[in-house]
């Protein structure tokens, strides 16, 4: 159901979908994990689609420096509160390093602020609409424009001094 | 013979000097007992009984830090004020068979003021230390003090009323507000009927509830709440100053329990057991026995009003405490007072 809805809502913005069935226990009853690769333009639409099934729970927001560009991974879960019904939905998309901007989820999910602040300070992704732009884990006087999760090997010396 | 000796001004002064030293020792000893018993009640081994003495010794050795944004003279003076008032308080309490050194120079009302002085000194010290924790603690202390003083005052009024009703001829020196007087004439004998007894029992209950609040012990250690405001009032105190507060607390705990004993259980051992019937009834032996009996009574009150209470309750919030004292305790105390009024008035 989730996959059909997502396909309909996203259209060409959806790159590919993979449904992973994970069997558990001695009776091997399985649950589903849906891996969705999308284009960054379709991200908000995709999250809005999830809101059809109730308030989605944001599990993880993580990012990775892939060299050429940045990859963001959002893990949601829907249909919780129902025994054995829950589905994990993973959205992943690439954003260019030259313009690392994505819309913020905080208007819809205020709790996403923590996750976005972490990704912002660690990976340098700018979240459009994020109100609280202070550092989360890094010290307040961390230098601007230096991101620990980037793999560019620049400014490492400076960062080491700062973490002393 | 001993009593006659105490009439001598010189002996009296020596007694007044000696008593505080004994009281400091006893206060620390009772604190040690309290800690040990509390530990045993919670299936711990607990510190040795001489631990409070070691604590004080260590604190006196430690550096005395005065915070930068404090008011130094006030910050340093308040521990001394607290210590002085605690010791003065003690001089008004008849110590077992011995009369109080300041007997006749003050009465219950002075006692009430002296009891209020020490928390006040602590609160001022808290405000003077210029730390948010201490300020919050001081505010809480003030609120708490205003709450428990009313029931406490009501109890004192009840006593005064009761003793004032006794015909003056009953004693040579008649002072209805004097503690020595109360110690000589047990209050239970003064009331005339069951109604008065019930009234007194209510007042006793209220006094026992006020005791932990007066002594800033759980559940009323709101001003020093460790997990909330990091010892509050005492947050900035260290070294000698902290030791002074520690000592004054120990002395006051002893004094407060002694007050409860004097007010409600002044019965001497000889009035319960015919001691004179035994052959060894020389005066020193009798005095020793009476002193031990007094210390035992204080210890029992200490155990029930402080140790047992602090091991069986959680700390309550300041608004809950204020409500509890203003509403429940004040009403209870007033009801007790009413019963005593009815008793004295001969309505029953």
């Amino acid at each position: 159901m989730v996959v059909e809805d997502l396909k309909k809502a996203l259209g060409p913005l959806l790159e590919d979908v993979r449904i992973q069935d994970i069997p558990e226990g001695s009776k091997r009853r399985s649950y589903q994990c849906v891996w969705v690769n999308i284009r960054k333009e379709g991200f908000l639409t995709a999250v809005r689609t999830l809101f059809r099934y109730g308030f989605p729970h944001l599990g993880i927001l993580t990012g990775e420096d892939m060299g050429e560009d940045l990859r963001l991974v959002y893990i949601f879960k829907v249909f919780y509160e129902e025994p054995r019904e829950e589905v994990t939905v993973v959205f992943s998309f690439h954003i260019p390093k030259s313009e690392p901007v994505v819309p913020s989820l905080t208007p819809m999910i205020p709790g996403a602020s923590t996750n976005e602040r972490e990704i912002r300070e660690m990976l340098g992704v700018e979240f459009r609409g994020l109100k609280d732009k202070r550092h989360l884990f890094l010290p307040e006087d961390w230098p601007e424009g230096k991101y620990p999760w980037r793999k560019d090997e620049t400014n490492v010396e400076d960062m080491v001094k700062r973490t002393r | 013979m001993i009593l006659e000796m105490l009439q001598d001004p010189l002996v009296r002064v020596a007694f007044a000097v000696l008593l505080p030293i004994i009281a400091i020792f006893l206060g620390l000893f009772y604190k040690g007992l309290d800690r040990k018993l509390s530990a045993r009640l919670t299936s711990r081994i607990g510190p040795p009984i001489r631990q409070p003495f070691r604590d004080v010794r260590k604190l006196f050795l430690k550096e005395n830090i005065v915070p930068e944004n404090s008011i130094p003279w006030m910050f340093n003076a308040m521990p001394l004020v607290a210590m002085a008032t605690s010791l003065t308080l003690l001089l008004y309490i008849p110590f077992g068979p011995f009369p109080a050194p300041l007997e006749g120079r003050g009465d219950l009302i002075v006692l009430l003021y002296l009891l209020a002085m020490q928390p006040l000194a602590m609160a001022l010290g808290g405000f003077a230390s210029g730390s948010p924790y201490a300020s919050v603690g001081a505010q809480r202390e003030m609120v708490l003090m205003m709450s428990y003083e009313v029931p406490l005052a009501t109890i004192i009024v009840g006593f005064a009323y009761l003793y004032a009703s006794v015909p003056a001829a009953a004693s040579a020196v008649w002072a209805p507000f004097s503690l020595g007087m109360i110690a000589q004439t047990p209050v239970w004998a003064v009331v005339s009927g069951p109604v008065g007894i019930i009234g007194l029992l209510i007042l006793l209950g209220v006094l026992l509830v006020v005791t932990p609040a007066e002594l800033v012990k759980i559940p009323f250690d709101i001003a020093e709440a460790e997990t909330e405001i990091a010892e509050g009032l005492l947050a900035e105190y260290s070294g000698r100053n902290l030791a002074m507060f520690y000592l004054s607390d120990a002395v006051r705990s002893f004094a407060m329990c002694a007050i409860v004993v004097v007010l409600f259980f002044p019965h001497t051992l000889s009035s319960l057991v015919p001691l004179t019937a035994y052959p060894w009834n020389t005066e020193p032996v009798l005095f020793t026995l009476e002193t031990l009996w007094f210390l035992l009574k204080v210890f029992i009150v200490y155990f029930f009003a402080v140790t047992l209470v602090r091991t069986s309750f959680a700390r309550i919030k300041v608004d809950q405490a204020a409500k509890f004292f203003w509403l429940h305790m004040t009403l209870a105390a007033l009801f007790g007072l009413l019963l005593i009024y009815l008793d004295v008035g001969g309505w029953f």
Partner: protein
């Protein structure tokens, strides 16, 4: 008209109410908190980065060191994530043993919380009593796994130690003890007037707030949310039984979402854990305990596989979620992201503390059972901007040991 002014009361990074470093700055007006702000990151250790430099099995042990209390939650989520990524399945017996260990940990963690919250409100005797009761399960865990904490029990594709008859009997005896002890705890916590006075209507969390702020675990359940991974997406032995989320509406009939409800949820979850463990022991299937006993082969499988996986576990404090990605070039994760329950649950402080009293702060803070080392995972030990080489660290350790030895021996 009196003017009211506020001042800020810093709670932390070091404060008696906090067991681990974090800072809550509360704007206070008299006794009321008007605004609260949280600064995290005092225990940030860069564990995720360290994991990305090690192989998967080393990372597994590293993940065990993320948290000092729930030492099985992170390995659990990590092994699930790796198994999902490489398509491996643990044998049934291993799945059951995992569940048993996880539930034993829930028992000890919940009792720990009950003690801590009692301490926060100045009820130390209760702390001593609950922690005395907790020792039994700690001893049992030591007997089963060899350690009181950091059990080193899980392995990718199974568990490392089997349960024999003697151990099963020990667990059963222990469960009988805890059934009785939990009944006593319920009596104490639910009938004590001061406990109730300090927790009722303290740190109220509504269902809506819990959803919006992504609360998880007992915190979310206390707000009436029937959210429990063991129920929603059962894994391992939970998939063979019907676990139901423990929510206050089933216990008392109403949801307040306050600290008292959290206590109820935790107390009843201990009962639930005992039931689950006993079910597991009854149905414990025979068979091997490792899908791939040869660890070198296992690492080669990981090295050859490409893919990503999400692993989740309902830890005592809530949902632990791990994300790993393997790219087929190295035998460890190239991307590893850890999300601990406190990461989400600390979000609620900003909301529940507003309007609270100062006296409520420790309870509101303790209420979610915060675990800072879980929350701040990711900085390496450097002194003077220089990383200490391993040899030097070892030399220093030896020196210290020798020094202590000399001092002790005289």
């Amino acid at each position: 008209m009196t003017t009211t002014y506020t001042y800020s009361l810093p709670i932390g990074p070091i404060h008696p109410a906090l067991k681990e470093p974090i800072r809550v700055v509360a704007e206070v007006e008299g006794e009321r908190v008007v605004r609260a702000d949280v600064k995290r990151g005092f225990a940030h250790r860069g564990i995720e980065f360290m994991g990305m430099k090690r192989n998967a099995i080393q990372t597994l042990y590293l993940s065990e060191r993320i948290c000092g209390i729930c030492s099985i939650s992170h390995p659990y989520a990590f092994v699930k994530a790796v198994e999902n990524a490489i398509g491996m399945e643990a044998p049934p017996r291993a799945q059951y043993i995992r569940t048993i260990i996880a539930e034993l940990e829930r028992i000890h963690s919940h009792i720990l919380w009950l003690g801590v919250i009692a301490h926060e409100m100045g009820f130390d005797p209760l702390l001593y009593w609950t922690w005395k009761g907790r020792e039994m399960v700690m001893d049992l865990l030591e007997y089963l796994t060899g350690n009181r904490v950091n059990y080193a029990m899980y392995m990718i594709g199974g568990v490392r130690r089997d349960l024999n008859e003697k151990k099963i009997r020990a667990i059963k005896e222990n469960m009988n003890y805890y059934r009785q002890f939990n009944q006593e705890m319920k009596d104490v916590f639910m009938s004590d007037p001061t406990y109730k006075a300090r927790t009722r209507r303290v740190s109220l969390l509504t269902r809506k707030d819990a959803l919006e702020l992504c609360a998880v675990g007992p915190t979310a359940r206390a707000a009436g949310l029937r959210m429990d991974i063991r129920q929603d997406q059962p894994y391992d032995a939970y998939a063979d039984m019907d676990v139901r989320a423990v929510v206050p509406q089933d216990i008392t009939g109403e949801v307040m979402g306050d600290a008292y409800d959290v206590t109820l949820v935790r107390l009843y979850e201990i009962d639930q854990s005992i039931e689950i463990i006993e079910r597991c022991l009854e149905d414990l299937p025979p068979g091997p305990i490792l899908a791939e006993p040869n660890l070198i082969k296992l690492l080669m499988t990981i090295k050859r596989s490409e893919g990503e996986g999400v692993g989740r576990h309902e830890a005592p404090r809530g949902e632990v979620m791990h994300y790993v990605r393997f790219d087929g070039t190295r035998d460890g994760p190239v991307a590893w992201k850890v999300k601990a329950p406190s990461y989400n649950n600390i979000n609620i402080w900003g909301r529940v503390l507003v309007g609270a009293e100062i006296a409520d702060i420790p309870i509101a803070v303790g209420y979610i059972d915060p675990c800072m080392c879980c929350n701040d995972r990711v900085a390496e030990v450097r002194r003077g901007g220089r990383e200490l080489p391993y040899e030097e660290v070892r030399r220093k350790c030896r020196e210290k040991t020798m020094r202590i030895k000399r001092e002790v021996m005289g």
